[in-house]
């Protein structure tokens, strides 16, 4: 059977995937935002290192 011979093979739309780079940017700025609004830090969840 070829790749496209399955009746439903052509109906699948590829799931949009975000690149690892942009995902890293999003996660990092969510963390920055949480720190800026106090969710993380002295009055929120304390993160130590």
């Amino acid at each position: 059977m070829t790749e496209n011979s399955h009746p439903q093979a052509n109906n699948h739309k590829p799931t949009p995937r975000i690149s690892e780079d942009w995902l890293a940017v999003i996660i990092a700025f969510i963390l920055v935002l949480f720190s800026a609004i106090g969710i993380l830090g002295e009055n929120g969840l304390k993160i130590l290192y």
Binding site: H6, Q8, S19, E20, D21, W22, L23, A24, V25, I27, A28, F29, L31, V32, F34, S35, A36, L40, G41, K46, I47, L48, Y49
Partner: protein
């Protein structure tokens, strides 16, 4: 639901569970590394060495290596692997690091880093390419190896492999070599810099130009000092940003010159496609810090999160080390890699010294 969809859904659920298990394992190993570094920090080691020189990157990489051996022995390494997102953790850490770097430092260091990057990438790439040819290495292997050595280690090897259509085992082999050589360099380079009484900006530029993989560059900078870490990261990020240009030129060369490679001429779009977009996040964080809107300095949650992200990355580096391809490929590629690493180290030392003491001096 069709049978195919059911299988896909099952695989996807299985993948998600393995991802979560992997992330939990990385977190636990990172906590062990953090605890170890805290224990040793206050100690005085043999030969009067203060414990604080053994910074967290070293412990994290060692804990990762031990974890690597144990997980493979127990036979659960494959289960954990999807959660070992070394590059992702590293990129998050680098963006957070941007939140404590003033834009003026970024611009000054990046100015020097661009010159250093162009000189280093060109010299190291062509020396490695030439030497690989002398040793009779396969063209694709030497393209991947030369890019890894000249630009930025693991991610450059992957980008180059995509550009020249290299075999998977060639990429595995080169990335393994990069990590095996980078781990000791991460510790030895700061010791050498200390012995030479090197100012932190010069040492940072040296680490950024000489050590292949970004994680180990950040690790060496962290061990040497805060300013070394900042300059090392800026220099390495600048070099990383040039990977798109290298990938474009490599694709062009392999499409036009190599008879066996079939493909279309690459467009300039590949430069943007391969550009590491996280660098934009790093610059944005630095701008926000310079404007006084965010603060990632010592004692802040961003600073702690940055260190955790780096710890995850160093643990991942230890976990990802694979030496399975080494024996099969023989001694020739290893010899080329080691000779070029020595060349790279000496050249980067001279260039970093000239650029960051004469052309773009950074105050300590």
């Amino acid at each position: 639901m069709s049978q195919t969809e059911a299988i896909q859904k099952k695989n996807s659920v299985g993948g998600s569970i393995r991802l979560i298990i992997g992330l939990v394992v990385v977190l636990l190993l990172s906590i062990v590394a953090w605890w170890l570094s805290k224990q040793v920090y206050a100690l005085e080691l043999p030969f009067g060495i203060p414990g604080k020189v053994l910074e967290f990157p070293l412990w994290a990489a060692l804990v990762g290596l031990v974890g690597n051996v144990l997980l493979k022995r127990v036979g659960v390494y494959e289960t954990v692997q999807p959660g070992v997102k070394t590059e992702m953790f590293l990129k998050i850490g680098l963006i957070l690091l941007g939140a404590k770097i003033n834009l003026s430092l970024l611009v000054t260091a990046a100015g020097g880093a661009i010159i250093q990057g162009i000189l280093m990438i060109t010299s190291v790439f062509f020396f490695s390419w030439w030497l690989g040819g002398k040793f009779g290495l396969d063209d694709k292997l030497r393209a991947v190896m030369s890019t890894a050595l000249a630009v930025c280690g693991v991610s450059a090897a992957i980008a180059a492999a995509g550009a020249v259509l290299a075999k998977k085992e060639q990429v595995t082999y080169v990335t393994g070599l990069v990590i095996v050589v980078a781990l000791p360099l991460m510790v030895v380079a700061p010791l050498l810099a200390g012995a030479m009484n090197m100012p932190e900006p010069v040492a940072g530029a040296w680490f950024g130009g000489n050590i292949d993989t970004t994680a180990a560059v950040v690790g060496a900078g962290t061990i040497y000092g805060d300013q070394a870490q900042e300059v090392a990261s800026i220099v390495k990020n600048t070099q990383n940003a040039l990977i798109g240009v290298v990938a474009f030129l490599l694709t062009l060369y392999f499409v036009t010159r190599q008879e066996n490679t079939k493909g279309e001429r690459p467009g300039l779009g590949i430069i943007w496609e391969r550009f590491p977009k996280f660098v934009l996040g790093f610059i944005l964080a630095s701008i926000l810090f310079t404007l006084g809107w965010i603060d990632g300095g010592k004692g802040t949650p961003i600073y702690a999160l940055k260190n955790w992200a780096f710890t995850f990355a160093f643990v991942g580096m230890g976990l990802e080390l694979s030496v399975s391809e080494f024996k099969r490929m023989g001694w020739k590629p290893v010899s080329v890699f080691l000779i070029v690493t020595i060349f790279n180290t000496l050249l980067a030392l001279g260039i970093a010294w000239v650029i960051f003491t004469k052309l773009f001096p950074i105050s300590v």
